[in-house]
Subunit: 406 residues, 2 copies
């Protein structure tokens, strides 16, 4: 038996004045057919009353307690951009930004500079006080910074003022340890070196000539120490892979050592190539025991407050599901369809509202729920569950769960 | 956005031979209308299979883990009678009682003496072994005793034999600490001093003359150390108030530093002035972000095994709700209607049975539940939840819940 956890990012919503949600209104014959053939419920990835990020939610759904394993966004971002992070590394998210000669921030995104591959090189690979610096841009003004070496700490302040018109803050230790003082000192040096090497870089001279703000500094934030995480294959004895368009989910996959299946046209946006993803899932199931799928478009639409687009994305996902169901064997695959969190259109941000969840496959206790939406599935046999129960339930269905007792 | 948690004390029940409960049978058009317009469920304040007191239940509903914060009834009783308790204080509930010259208890309630304001004065404010003694009667034979000073412990036995015809027990340390020995010693001294000063007090001489038992001793019980509790406003960033008729709930409010809104005629009994309370809620919402309401009458009726009275109290509460709904704006207020615990008529005491809960307000996921009673609401979108999830769910609806992750 194989299994898929298919996550529609930001799926859930709150009813509008007519009592509708994009999911309730969308034309989703396959989702509804699946609900009819499934055991259904509501799910909170982390817990009831917790408003999770996509990162903490995915970790929880994969059975990794985020309160133990989520040490900040930096490590996951760094893994997501392809840095081979190692336990103990100190990792940050960074922006390329524009500062004046007094280090006052003029533009936090350096005019949303598009190509920073050349600029990356002046920082990546340097060594500061015996610590190796790994630096990688992620296709624009964003980047990840990793420090690798001895006696490092993540108990330090951040180097991003989050506002323009103020100076880049000096990074300070948050505790009395030598490690924290040393790490703060090193990051301050890196920021200074970045300015020295970037400010007059030919690319920035060219930008100035064209009236564009130079990308002449980096602003690190979201610091965290890369945790020791048990690889997915060791935890569950399953050969697993991930299909996703966004760096954050790629980072989660990398951190738990799921293989990553690259899909042409998978962008993490509403314009992603849905059908290529569907085909990759069907293909992937020939090789892997388990596939985690994330489709991000509905969440993007929610963050933009775009009700119609969210509905449209959900309908496209329904098309993916139709293709998948037509090309897999119900006797061989368990399929979990759910979201990671709700992103209500009216809030334009994540909420703690639970998300519908169904488990489709051989021998599940099919209930009488007939529709996959926020108002129907809690009447099914799964009632209201937490994300951490998904993996053991799948393992149990797959006949792989260890017995506790005699 | 503002919010109200409205608690009908002892609301839930078990069905009688006809399958009815006071709540199911009561004529409650407003509660049922609210259920129709709400997301509904069942709730256990502390946990499934826990038979809570009103104090532990209210703490849990406010998001304070009672296993951490509830250190005995004494501290909450003392706060409830108006003593400005401080973390570290040792607090007791007390009865004024009648003993003979050998300290044998003749009447545990001193003939249910009504006015003890003068007697209070002979104990309140004294100092024993450098410890300040605060003593306050609560309108009859009941009182609260507080010790304030260094090196005190709540690891001591109690001074109430709970029976008549036996001697007042000597208070003993429950562990080997100096603090426990010292505290036991001090309380024994206070009981002795109380006897010396009360036995021949003019009020007691007068009572003897009238054939009434003298209130010539105090019996401390329910010892606890006043805990450090994060004030409600700091925990949630909300300006909160409490409306309640009973000392125990006032004590909870005081302990978490909710303001207390005094309501004329609010007695904590079935004869309470329901409409004054309703008006106070509407008025209070003009000043406060959050109001905790407790209406006690249904619980009193349950403890007396009075089915019809419980039904009648619930119908009066329905009238309160009608007034409130007519005078608040659904776009501005989230309203939680629930109880703190069940008090089945047949048991005349609290039970672990869950209580109906509904959340009424803008953008909640309204389900198809049409009746507010013990048999309907679990079919709604809240399924079966714990009290600790109420506050984060409200904060989420109010847009005030912090995101965990990215």
């Amino acid at each position: 038996m194989k299994s898929v956890i298919f996550i529609i990012d930001g799926l859930g919503d709150r009813p509008n004045n007519e009592g509708n949600t994009p999911l309730k209104e969308a034309n989703t014959p396959t989702m509804d057919r699946m609900a009819k053939e499934s055991i259904c419920g509501l799910m909170n990835a982390v817990d009831i009353g917790v408003r999770p990020g996509s990162d903490t939610a995915h970790l929880a759904i994969l059975g990794y307690d985020p309160y133990e394993n989520y040490t900040g966004r930096g490590p996951f971002e760094a893994a997501g951009v392809g840095i081979d992070v190692q336990p103990g590394d100190i990792a940050f998210r960074c922006n390329f930004a524009t500062v004046d000669e007094n280090f006052v921030v003029i533009d936090r995104r350096a005019g949303r500079i598009k190509n920073t591959a050349e600029l990356e090189k002046v920082i990546d690979g340097i060594e500061v006080d015996g610590v190796k610096v790994i630096f990688k841009q992620s296709g624009g003004y964003r980047a990840a910074l990793v420090l690798r070496g001895d006696k490092l700490s993540d108990k330090i302040t951040e180097g991003d003022p989050h506002h323009e018109g103020v100076k880049v803050p000096e990074i300070k230790p948050l505790d009395d340890s030598e490690e924290a003082r040393r790490t703060a000192n090193i990051v301050n040096k890196i920021i200074k070196i970045a300015y020295e090497r970037l400010n007059n870089h030919p690319i920035n001279e060219e930008r100035r000539k064209n009236g564009l703000p130079p990308a002449n500094i980096i602003l690190p934030r979201g610091v965290g120490k890369v945790p020791h995480i048990l690889p997915f294959s060791e935890k569950y004895g399953l050969k697993g892979a991930c299909i996703a368009g966004t760096g954050l989910i790629k980072g989660i996959a990398k951190m738990v050592k799921l293989d990553f299946i690259d899909v042409e046209g998978a962008t993490g946006t509403p314009e992603t190539n849905f059908m290529n993803k569907a085909k990759a899932i069907v293909e992937g199931l020939k090789t892997y025991d388990f596939i985690l799928v994330n489709v991000k478009g509905a969440d993007e639409a929610s963050h933009d407050g775009n009700y119609e687009l969210k509905k449209k994305v959900i309908e496209k996902v329904d098309g993916m599901l139709e293709y998948i169901l037509n090309n897999i064997d119900k006797n061989e695959v368990y399929f979990v369809l759910t979201g990671d969190h709700s992103t209500p259109i009216e809030e334009k941000d994540h909420s703690a509202d639970p998300i519908p969840i169904i488990i489709w496959g051989k021998s599940v206790r099919v209930d009488d729920v007939e529709k996959f939406d926020e108002f129907s599935t809690h009447k099914g046999g799964l009632c209201w569950i937490k994300g951490k129960y998904i993996m053991p339930t799948l393992l149990d269905l797959m006949g792989l769960l260890k017995k506790y007792g005699a």
